[in-house]
Amino acid sequence: QQPVQSPQAVILREGEDAVINCSSSKALYSVHWYRQKHGEAPVFLMILLKGGEQKGHEKISASFNEKKQQSSLYLTASQLSYSGTYFCGTGSNTGKLIFGQGTTLQVKP
C-alpha cells in the first residue's frame, strides 16, 4: 500500500520553514526520505526507524511516529537548493521501498 504524502506541493520564500508528511495505512518498519531534482536521480536524505526517533541532515530533520504510522520531514530556513520533489518510502527488511506520490517544493528568492 502506497504511503500518502501531504501536501502535494509547497511554495516557499527563502528562509521559510516547511513540513512534509508521510502517512501509511500499514505498520511502519522504516521510513526513507529522498529529494529528487528535475532530470536527476533521487538523492538519499535520511532513514528513520520505528521508535519515534528524529534524525537530522543539514537543516532538514524528520520524525517517526510509530503509533500514528506517520513520518514528517522538517525543512527549516529553506534555501534555493532545497527545491525539488521529496519522496518518502516505507521500507521492509528485504530492502523493498514503497514510495509516496511525492511533494513538490519550490523555494523562491
Partner: protein
C-alpha cells in the same frame, strides 16, 4: 568515483524492439534494484537481487527480465517494447545498516522512449 552507474542514459527505440539497460555499482553493496518512474513521477520497484539471487519480483510483465552476473552488476532486458514502457528506469543498490534497514542509493537513470 564510487557510485551507481547506468548505461545508456537515453534510449530511443521503436515498438517491438528488444533493449537492455546496464547497471554497475562499486560501493560493495550486496543488494541491487530496478525501479520505474513514470511521467507522473511515480517511483515503483520492479526487481531486487541480493548476491545474484532474485528476492523481489513485483507484478511486472514477463517481457522484463533482470540478470545479475555478479553482485556488482544488475542488467535489465526488455523484450517487445511497448509505448507504455516509456519511463525513466533507475537502478539502485543498498547495504544493510544496524537495525536491519537498507540504505539505498540510486543511479542516474535511463530515460527510455518507445516510439
Amino acid at each position: 568515483d564510487t557510485a551507481v552507474s547506468q548505461t545508456p542514459k537515453y534510449l530511443v527505440t521503436q515498438m517491438g524492439n528488444d533493449k537492455s539497460i546496464k547497471c554497475e555499482q562499486n560501493l560493495g553493496h550486496d543488494t541491487m534494484y530496478w525501479y520505474k518512474q513514470d511521467s507522473k513521477k511515480f517511483l515503483k520497484i520492479m526487481f531486487s537481487y541480493n548476491n545474484k539471487e532474485l528476492i523481489i519480483n513485483e507484478t511486472v510483465p514477463n517481457r522484463f527480465s533482470p540478470k545479475s552476473p555478479d553482485k556488482a552488476h544488475l542488467n535489465l532486458h526488455i523484450n517487445s517494447l511497448e509505448l507504455g514502457d516509456s519511463a525513466v528506469y533507475f537502478c539502485a543498490s543498498s547495504h544493510l545498516l544496524a537495525g536491519g534497514v537498507h540504505e539505498q542509493f540510486f543511479g542516474p537513470g535511463t530515460r527510455l522512449t518507445v516510439l
